[in-house]
Symmetry: C2
Subunit: 228 residues, 2 copies
């Protein structure tokens, strides 16, 4: 099983944090384990601290009127969530649920804040980490607002992390991807098929997607629809 040190070491948000500060973080961290489908916290609860995912997958989502959900973020190993609420000291603005069996390191809110107040390099590291997160959010907004369904899927595929063989591995459930892109699974499925039929991508084993024509896919992401 992973230790807190291994989990934190693999976390992007802390890459800029020097060794000494890192040890302090490792010392305060405790492990948190979640079953598949388990809720980690709900919107408007007090923030327990910063969660760092070591293994598994977490979806962070907002719930709107009539129970409609929107996935803000799908967090995998190396990612963090609830950092913003922990930093700002407010209630968590969204809910989090373990999509698979998940292991996290939790940096408890009060200790973490104390560390920030005393540790300047840590503070700096968090600042650049946060600014990356803002960049990501602006990208998300851009997606929802300026792109159509095909454009969003194309952009998602181009931005996604690739496996060793250059394919994109979709999260276990496509519906979560769809929600992340603010699409219904129906529209996602249909549009996905259009991209396959147009020869821009192809589907392999186990939800692995091959990008056949990257340039054409890129033009789709910029708003040029593929013919037929």
């Amino acid at each position: 099983m992973l230790s807190v040190i291994e989990i934190l070491a693999d976390c992007r948000l802390f890459t800029a944090v020097p060794a000494k500060s890192f040890q302090r973080l490792a010392a305060m961290a405790r492990l948190a384990k979640f079953r598949k489908g388990q809720m980690i916290f709900r919107e408007n609860e007090d923030c327990p601290g910063v969660y760092v995912v070591g293994k598994g997958m977490v979806r962070v989502f907002k719930t709107g009127a009539g129970g409609k959900e929107h996935v803000l973020h799908i967090v995998e190993a190396g990612g963090t969530f609830a950092e913003v609420a922990a930093l700002g000291g407010f209630k968590v603005p969204a809910s989090a649920e373990a999509v698979e069996a998940t292991l996290c390191a939790l940096l408890p809110q009060p200790l973490f804040r104390k560390a920030l107040e005393e540790d300047h390099p840590l503070c700096l590291g968090m600042l650049s980490g946060l600014s990356l997160w803002v960049k990501h959010l602006v990208g998300l907004l851009e997606d929802v607002v300026l792109r159509d369904a095909a454009g969003r899927i194309a952009n998602y595929l181009l931005d996604a992390r690739r496996t060793a063989d250059g394919a994109v591995a979709l999260p276990s459930l496509k519906r979560y991807v769809a929600s992340h892109l603010n699409l219904t699974s129906e529209t996602f499925s249909r549009t996905f098929r259009r991209l396959i039929d147009a020869g821009l991508i192809s589907i392999g084993k186990k939800n692995h997607v091959l990008i056949v024509a990257p340039e054409r896919l890129r033009s789709v992401a910029q708003g040029i629809l593929p013919k037929v």
Copy 2:
């Protein structure tokens, strides 16, 4: 005319910054003046630094395929923009334009970064400032994704800063508000009228909007449509 000190003192982002750090910021700042309609910077340019608005109004927007624009933020006196790019050290992710004659204080990027590296309280203050900005962005996302046109307008009015007499002053051009809410000005106009006809709000002089029925408006923001 406003001095840099007056501008910075009135800025929310720096409220948590102690006096000593504040003076350092004031010392590095220079004034930047923009005519109505003048571009301040364009997407993907190098970040000049942190802009603090002292007077006037700036719209920060993204441009998508086909020239479609989306207003990320309307910045008035006391607000800042380009902070994120300045912190993270990357290119500005959006364009900025002075909507009216505008006076800003500019904290030049290299000096500002240096100050951050040396000044821990400043760093802390910026962290909580940034986390507020993230909160705002998540709110925007929530808006676009989970609310319909009426809900977005209602929510916007409820969240907006009030004048002394409790009214909401819309930015000079309604189209910018519309774009901010990801609506066309046509839809904005129509939906606005529906809210007036339903007796939830009323229009005063000079783009001032009175909120007549706050509770009912709040329920609209939560997705309950006003009858007829």
